[in-house]
Amino acid sequence: MTQASGTPASGEAPVFYEVDEHPHPEGHSTMLGFWIYLMSDCLIFAVLFATFGVLGGSYAAGPGPKDLFDLELVALNTSMLLFSSITYGFAMLAMEKDRVKVTQLWLVVTAVFGLAFLSIELYEFHHMIAEGATPQRSAFLSAFFTLVGTHGLHVTFGLIWLVTLMVQVGQRGLVVANKRRLMCLSMFWHFLDVVWIGVFTFVYLMGMLR
């Protein structure tokens, strides 16, 4: 079968290529592909962090971090995202044991924490904009809203994805395809928490030190 054409019949025929296609099971490269997507996403955030690093001190005589940031609120927000990370981990552990109900329950808890994070962030943005600290006010605020807003947008899409997967798991159970999707979202969700470490350190905490 795996015989190269035009080889002498004597002895063992050298095999130059495989005629039979070797199996590529569905989804066998999904995790690596998704990881590479996350790395490209990481580059987006790196550029936004660099922009914030350059423009973070350009207040244009407007309000600075000390006038705007409430560290207690940021600490609460950080804990919401961290809680959602660990509850997603619990969902993955339940998924491994094929417990559909428990998995769904932890996914709901994760969604609630994610929603709490988004609500607090939107409250903070609303508060800032109501005070006149809009993205148009200064380069610092443009960079701030772009960086933190992009992260918030990622969390929003993660939440939409999470709800979609809960519907999928509800309809078809923990089939292999759904497990693969949940694993991808797991990486996405934990990655967003990693980016948030950078945000609260470089934007909020370092901002208060400027």
């Binding site: 660099a50 005589a61 804990s79 981990g89 934990h190």
Partner: protein, 134 residues
């Protein structure tokens, strides 16, 4: 046999799935791993917030360096305990992609800050400080 079975092995009735792709089915960690990661993250988050809010270190530079150090450690903790990164997943390709990305991130961040800092200090006369403008 180990008690931990991967999902690929669970549903690996076809030998094609198990063949040559054992390294792809990565473990999702254990309850213990997640709890260690969580507790470490809480500690590594609480300390920098406390340092900045109380200002115990006195010097701004020392506080900045300390919180950056805590951030780096916490990112590594997340990578290990939540993202389950190691040199074996995907035959090392995940780690290679991460390494390449980190190089690009360092070049982007360090390059931007370095170049723009010098542009600001060398090309902008200090008399035109925006704070003194009407």
């Amino acid at each position: 046999m180990s008690a931990h079975t991967t999902p690929a092995a669970d549903h690996g009735h076809d030998h094609a799935h198990a063949h040559g792709h054992d390294d792809h089915a990565e473990p999702h960690g254990s309850l213990r791993g997640y709890m260690i990661g969580f507790v470490l993250s809480v500690i590594l988050t609480a300390i920098p917030f406390w340092l900045v809010m109380s200002g115990v270190l006195g010097s701004t530079t020392a506080t900045a360096l300390a919180i950056m150090g805590f951030a780096v450690v916490q990112i590594v903790v997340h990578m290990i305990y939540f993202l389950h990164m190691n040199f074996r997943t995907e035959g090392g390709w995940s780690m290679l992609a991460l390494g390449f990305t980190l190089i690009l991130v360092v070049i982007t961040l360090a390059g931007s800050l370095w170049v723009m800092y010098h542009l600001n200090t060398n090309m902008m006369p200090s008399v035109h400080d925006m704070r003194q403008m009407p």
